[in-house]
Subunit: 117 residues, 10 copies
């Protein structure tokens, strides 16, 4: 994995920057690797944001998420990092990332991060 | 496509203008064309508004939505434009447009615009 | 149809007038006629109210709704009229009427009226 | 039916009286008799409360609800009475009773009572 | 059962302690024993919290929940105790425990506890 | 009601008469009147057939079903009559009519007729 | 309970005796009493039959089912008896009775009887 | 529209021609135009086949279905034509085409064609 | 665990031994222990049988299933053993046992056994 | 990827080889790579078999499926290969593999293979 997957993210100019409207993208095919067991994790990443000057380009967002495919990273960490990367690139008015994970050991987990906190 | 699809929209007098009540129309058969790939996009347009003096006539609203059938336009743009056109024609007390799109590249998107912001 | 279907509505004394509690009746078998096309419309009428001194008697409410069976009337109009009639007869603390209509021309509509506005 | 079904209700000491927490019991097998037609009514009773010093014992609550099995009583009345009886016995911080009834004459009804109002 | 199942719980350092984000773990395979009848109870435990310095380690949380497998304890008690143990170990910003139980005697129960109250 | 609603049904030539294929039309907005109580009945009519030389025209089929709107007729009778009328007009290879009725008196009914028996 | 609830069942002449068609009535509001515990049982009775000369009249079928309301009888027994009574009265071409019961002790039961076996 | 949309379909060699296995492709975004009203129709095309020497290439199948986007054609006709085209190009062991259409005039239609009949 | 949990099973005389009818009991609260990992397994046991002279008594069947609560046994083994025990005790005309297990390692399993094979 | 992922599969002795019973394992977290676009594919693998002398060990089956994670292979091919590998290792009485894939280009695909054909 590249040291900076954030550089994969591309943007385009918000066509209606004068209006505070909401954009939601749901990616149900997210997969990464558990750093403890080496086993793959599967989940859904949900991004909701109000753009300022920039919107995230969909294909680059998909490739950005795919960059985690073979990377070992915990639930809590990956969710916060995706939020950090998107906030850095988009500088949005507000932005939420939610990750919902398929069960492990009978436990089903969800992590929810917001910007600004 | 005509330069001004807004002109397709017809109205009728609100039969109960003294009461702030809510009207919702859901159009699950919306289709337009992706300007980048040329492939058709499919989605549901959800309109919710509180009328002032005018209501939108249903058949003209359907024809208005059909005018996007062969037009190349992005998710964010089409949602804001439908809101702009309806606000211009109806001058409502408040109005919301939500577009929900079938998955592309494994990503499912939703755009939500409100008037007044 | 009688000129005043409101007269069909019967009431009984609220057995617990000292408490502000909520009563909901859902009538999924409502049908009227479109005044434009002459075709039957089908929908669900949802009544939610907090009674004052009077409650609406169920059988008379059913007969009241049936009085619209062969009457030509628009979605927005019928919803507001049912609210007007019930408010006149019950003089409730608050009352809501919601009509949800089966699709016409691919469009699914819902009207929501509240008293007091 | 005994003149006071309330006496059937038993209580036990709230094991954590220092914390305002919520208890919900849903009884989908409630049945009583319509006093007008003599036909059985069927519904679900939903009890939600924040206990003070006492909790309702589950088996006694079940038997209390069964005491309505052959009793003629209207929807609005039975819901308020269950609330009155539980409030008298439990003296809770707050308490809600909701009754949801299977359709009669094509109409589906729900009654919602709260303490304090 | 050990006198202190709380000691089973392990923690790890919150990787993003500067952000107030939410973690949810749902355990649909919880089972304990009814102290009155000796029969097993089955339910789902839902934990939602905003971490401060510490997060609960998933495997230890699973083992902690399993420690109730053969223990006689009431619904209200077990829910409050899980909350007490997690609050003592994690010292979170806020924390909720919800237990939802499969029907007993036709009654379906849910208990909801919050910290801080 | 006209003495022969069957005359409302129109047909068009089967465009692929050489192939035994199946056509299904579902009409969830059927309503007639109970001859015993005078109350409206509501149901769904499901037509499944393999055409021979003729197909039923959709709009005429809708108008045919609407001709029962104010007619008093029993469940068993209306289902068999629709089958009889369609068989007479279409002379199909095989044809099924199923009527599913909304509950009356807590009873939900379905009638299924086939041609040939 | 009368010694012969079967006598409650009324019939009417099959309006289309020349065709082997199917009639289904679903009664989701059945209740009887467990002869062992004295507690009420709740279930759904499903009747499917092909009539010969007679059909069962709906209201009498409902009253027949209500005659079990306060009667102590086991799942297996009640299902077979309903089948026996209906076969005796209707002498149908074929007839099925299925009873589906709400959970008791965590166990959900279904009984299915057919005539002819 | 080209006179022969069939020419859009591309194939690839069946990688396991020795085994009779089943391939299903579901296209929920099909749209064509009603030749009578000029209004767009929307539906789902379901293709199920057992390949012989050839399989249909997915992208070409999508483009083939898109070629109907602005074409006026009836439900019964389009379903049979898709079957004819696919049978001509693939020469499969067996092949089914099912079209399910969104409601028009309150009627929901499904067409099912099989090869060999 | 006793060496022979089969001895827990009690029976009662089939009240209608002359008719081949079907009895189904579904137990969604089954739990045993994985003999490899020592972790609890959770599943649903589904029993379907046609009785001969004997029926299984429900409470004893529940206790029989509970006897596996702390026993280490594989999915395939427990399903076959339950079938063997029930066949030995009931000597039924036919009997099926199906076990459906909650996911382990992302894999969801079901075992189905029939008597006679 | 190893040249022979089949070698990952481990087996254990069927504990009840005298009975023809059915084992089903569902793996909803399967992912491989499209050899044409290089994009990841996601799907569910469903395995149903009747064992002869051997059963597949669950953990090795999971690791076997994970060996496709970064491998470029078509839907039709991977489904047939999984069937071939399992048949070679288990020599079962009968075995089915079904792969269900998340939508690509608006098309949802399913492949079904059986042994023996």
């Amino acid at each position: 994995m590249p040291s900076s997957p954030k550089s994969i993210l591309e943007t385009f100019d918000n066509p209606h920057p004068d209006r505070a409207y909401e954009i939601e993208h749901i990616a149900p095919e997210f997969t990464s690797v558990c750093p403890k067991t080496g086993q793959p994790d599967f989940g859904t990443i949900r991004l909701i944001y109000v753009p300022a000057a920039l919107c995230v380009e969909l294909k680059s967002f998909k490739l950005y998420l795919q960059s985690f495919r073979n990377r070992g990273i915990f639930y809590e960490d990956v969710t916060n990092r995706i939020l950090d990367d998107l906030v850095a690139v988009l500088q949005p008015q507000r932005l939420t990332v939610i990750s919902e994970w398929t069960p492990r050991g009978g436990l089903r987990s969800t992590i929810r991060c917001h910007y600004p906190t």
